[in-house]
Structures are given as C-alpha cells and as structure tokens.
C-alpha cells in the first residue's frame, strides 16, 4: 500500500508545492482577499456561523497539532482546555467590565497554566497512558463545571454578553465575529508556523521521532513536552474564549468527550503534523453534519465509517504528505552549518 502511494506523491504533489512556493505572495494575497470578501457574497447567518465554527475548529486543530502532530503526544482531553478558556472569558465578561481582548488573554493564560500542570505527568507516562490521563482530565473539567455552582453556575451554564471592541458591538450582521475569527486564526496560524520553524519546533519534531535520540542530542525532553502542552492549551484556550463570546450561552454539555474526539479527528483527517491539514480537516468535519442532512439520523453512522475508512486507507491524513522541499533553516543556522563554524 505504502509503496504504491509514494510515486503518486512524488509525481503529483511536489510540482504543486514548488509552484505554490514560487508564487507564494500572489497566492496568499488571493486567499486573503477571498477570505476578506467572503461575508459580502450574501450568505445567510447560518452559513456565516458555519464558517466561523470552521475557523474555531481550525484553531483547535492547530492547537492540538502542536501536541499531537509535532511532539507526538496524543490528547483526548482538549475539550477540557476549550471549556476552561470559554468559561474564563465568559465569567470575566459577566462579572467585570474588562474589555473582550483582556478576557481573551486571560482565557489563554488560564488554559495555558492548566495545560502546563497537566503536562507534568508526562514526566512519568508515555503513549497510551498519557492519552488516558488527558481523557480523565477532560471529564474532570466537565464535572468541576457541573458541581462548582458558586462560580460556574453549575448545569445552568453562563450567559455571556456580546463582546465590544473599539466601541463596536460584535454581531453577525456587521460580520464582527467573522473578522475577529479571521484575525485570531491568522495569529494562531502564524504562531504555529513560527514555532515549527524555530529551535523549539525542531526539538518537538525530534521528540516525536525518537525520544532517546533527542535526549542524546541534548534536548531536555521533559521541559519541551511541558512547553508543548502549555502552547497547545493556550491556543485552545483562545479558541474557547472566542467561542464563549460567539455563543449567547455556554454550559457543560458543550464540552463533552465527543468534542475532544472531534478535535483529534480533525487533526488526523487533515494530516498530523501539517498546518494545511487542520483547515481542511475542520472544513470537512464541521461541514459534514450540515451538508449530509439528507442522510437523516444515519449521518453519525457515516461519520464513524468515515473515521474507520480514513484509518484504513490513509492514516496519514488527506493532506498528510511529507514535504519534499528543503527545510529552511534560519539564515544564521544555515550559515553555521555551511561554514562549519560553531
């Protein structure tokens, strides 16, 4: 199977990649203009909401991708971070007059700190066991939300007000949500790309490929694993904070194990360890329940089948090919490598 796949990739994808790299700037500009103009094509609120949800889940995918795709740690508890971000932001907006931006940052920080703490058990655990801990974490967060009534209002949930920025209230009508989503998505994407092309990103990749070899190369794997957890949780927290502002009402039922599974599925369907895959994965999996309404109640059966077939025939994800273009080291490092100067 694998042998058959390889030539297909080499013949077909590398030219496209080279083409895209060559015309990188026009391609990005084109995409940017398209995304900016999207709300003005006259879609109704339902479709716009779908676009925004795709954006949010792309962010979640990017967040988990840092953990799963780059560092190779699988988390089944990202709904927990999502919930922490959402509740932090919503509760701050309800109880204080802080601007939306501040509550969003607070959501990111809270979620990141919790992520760092959860990362600590990675000192002892690996593989399956780590995945199980994150699963337990996700459920515990949900239980805390349900039972900590004085703060989270228990099962009744929180009503969050519409966010206001620069004196303008965000609504669907003035596309405030859509553009906020774009900005946040751009920021997350840039952060992800920056991390991937930094020393930290290379350390993550090294850990994923071979922990022992990474240790031998002087990478402190524990520290980097905790860092990966923190970054991933931070991004997820931002997505959560934004989600809380989008929804008029959030409660514990939004952040179930199914959401964690959905995020993992996005990463896997799109292609682990690739950024492009996150967007495609989010588009497919978020739009799928909507476009497949004709299947009626069978659509979640089909969803399950989709996951199984994916794993069977293309476990690396739809866009999960390895880029054959040379990896661009930072100029300084490149120079050192070429000249052999330490």
């Amino acid at each position: 199977m694998k042998m058959k796949m390889e030539p297909f990739n080499r013949d077909f994808i590398t030219p496209i990649e080279q083409f895209l790299t060559k015309f990188r700037i026009p391609a990005w500009v084109l995409l940017g203009v398209f995304l900016l103009a999207l709300p003005h094509f006259g879609f109704n609120t339902f479709i716009m909401r779908l676009f925004i949800m795709i954006g949010i889940f792309s962010m979640l995918g990017l967040g988990l991708n840092i953990l799963m795709g780059y560092t190779g740690l699988v988390s089944l508890g990202h709904a927990g971070f999502f919930a922490i971000g959402a509740y932090t932001s919503a509760l701050l907006m309800v109880h204080t007059d802080l601007p939306f931006l501040v509550t969003l940052i607070a959501a990111a920080i809270t979620s990141g700190v919790v992520g760092g703490i959860l990362g600590l058990p990675t000192l002892r655990l690996s593989g399956n066991y780590l995945t199980i801990v994150t699963l337990g974490f996700g459920e515990i967060v949900r239980m805390v939300i349900m039972n900590w009534r004085s703060v989270t209002n228990g099962v009744l949930g929180v009503r969050s007000p519409r966010p206001v920025m620069f004196g303008m209230e965000f609504t669907f009508a003035n596309h405030g949500f859509y553009y906020t989503m774009l900005v946040l998505l751009l920021l997350t994407g840039l952060t992800s790309a920056a991390i991937l092309h930094s020393r930290t990103g290379r350390a993550f990749l090294a850990i994923k490929e071979d922990e022992i070899a990474a240790t031998m190369m002087g990478i402190r794997i524990t520290r980097y694993k905790i860092l990966a957890f923190t970054i991933s949780a931070t991004i997820t927290g931002v997505a959560g904070g934004f989600y809380a502002s989008l929804m008029p009402h959030i409660d514990h039922d939004v952040f179930t194990f199914d959401v964690s599974v959905l995020i993992v599925s996005i990463v896997i369907v799109g292609g682990m360890g690739t950024m492009r895959g996150m967007f495609l994965g989010a588009i497919i999996l978020i739009a799928f329940p909507e476009v497949s309404r004709f299947l009626m109640e069978y659509r979640f059966v089909v969803y399950g089948l989709l996951l199984i077939l994916m794993m069977r025939f293309r476990p690396q994800g739809i866009l999960g090919w390895k880029s054959r273009l040379p990896y661009n080291l930072p100029k300084l490092v490149q120079k050192r490598v070429e000249t052999g100067v330490q």
Binding site: V264, S265, F300, I308, R312, P315
Partner: protein, 278 residues
Amino acid sequence: MTYALIAVGFSLVFGILRLVNFSHGSMYAFGAMIALFFVGMHVNVWLAILLSIIITGVAGVVIDKMALAPLRKKKSIPIAGLITTIGVSHIIQNLLTIWFGSQTRPFPSLVELGMVDLFGTRIDARQIMVFVVSLILMGILTLVINRSKVGLAMRAVEQNPKAASLMGIDVNFVISFTFFLAGVSAAIAGGLIASTYNLVFPMMGFMAGLKGFSAAVLGGIGSLHGSIVGGLVVGVSEAMAVVFFGSAFRDSMAFVILVLVLIIRPTGIFGKKAILKV
C-alpha cells in the same frame, strides 16, 4: 461490580493488542439492547440473554476482522487503532439509537428475589446475584486463560506475538477469540445490569465504558483479578462519594481515581512492570 465485568473486556483486549478499545462501552449497550430485542419477541429472559451473549461475542469478532485486522496487517500507528474503535463506537451507538429509539426502556428482571438482610443492612437480592454471577464468570475466565490450550496461546501472544506465531500459534485466531470473550463479557455485564436496574438505553454504554476502563487501569490493565478489585474499588468509592459529597460527584470519582492511579502507579495495583525497550 459490573464495572469489573466491563473492565475484564478492556483488560483482555489491551493485554493482547496494547489497544484501548473505546468501542467496548457500546458493546455493553449493544448486548443489553439485543437482549431486550429478544425479550420483545416474547423469548424467555434467560434465553434472550444467552442469545445476546452469542451475538455480541460474534459482533466483537466481526469488528476485529472488519476494522482492526487490516490495521494490524499494515502495522499502522497505535493511534489509528484508537480512532478506529472510536469510529466503531459511534456506529454502534447511533445504529442502536436508530433501531430502538433513544428513550429509556424497561427491562424485565431475571428473578424476583426480594430484599435480603445482610449484616443488618437491607440489600436487594439481585445485587448479590450480580456479585455472585460476576465472581463465577471471573472464575471461569481465569480457568479458560490459565488452564485451557487457547488460554495458553492467549498468554503466549500477549508476551510476544512474533514468537508465538513461530511456535505454531494462529495469532489471528487468538486475537479473534479474545474479542469474542470481550464481547461475551460485555453482553453478560449488559444483561445483568439491565435486569438489575430494569432499564436500558442506547447511550448507557458511554459512561459505563469509561468507568469500566478506569477500573481496568486501577487494577492493572491486562490482569484479570486486578479488574475485579478495580471494579470493586470504583463502585465502592462512587457510593462513598454520594454519601459524603452528594450525588453530583458520583460520576467524577472514577476519573479522579483514574488520574491519581496513573500519576502515582501507572501499572495499577496488580500490573506487571513494563520493561522499557531501548
């Protein structure tokens, strides 16, 4: 105690394949619903449960052959198997919902025994029956694994699949047999619980599955008597949580235990030390 029965299923599969089988919870619901289906056709309750045990066991084998065996053949990454079982669980749960409706349904009792006085507390005799049946089943399972030829093959595959296959053991058959046993234990658990609480619903598998899994991890995943102890501890601590903190904390106990166990002693109470291969 039923957590113990569910935990056994997890343990069996994990022991051999190193795979967390997320579809196990829905197998448990599947077993209960199939039993209900036969009861609806005016079949005797005992016969209905027996039929459901066989069907669920076969369903376990089918799942393995259809979804998991191809992955093993391709030697794909472990996460692929995990996602596959999640997909399978989606399919089973939703099919159950479509076929039987999502509402909670009544399930007839196996036997009407009334209440029994035990050490000064009144206990529903059916719960004692569940306990006894579980113990007997564990005994049978232990016998199968420790005494029979298939059991010997199972233990061999657990230790080293490649060496086992060189010794002439049909590894694929052993794995299928394991899935059969897991399905059987899930169906028994489903039938017992359904007839104790007189209720079944398609989504009953989800929480029960996660808790059974916690029990398996607590007892040391891959160890049978560990599953019994784990199941008991999870069950008792849930009851304690209801008494001391209120019923809202009932469901979280299993996960608190799970996380604590994994941080303090990842191999569980009876788990063998895993040797890290370098």
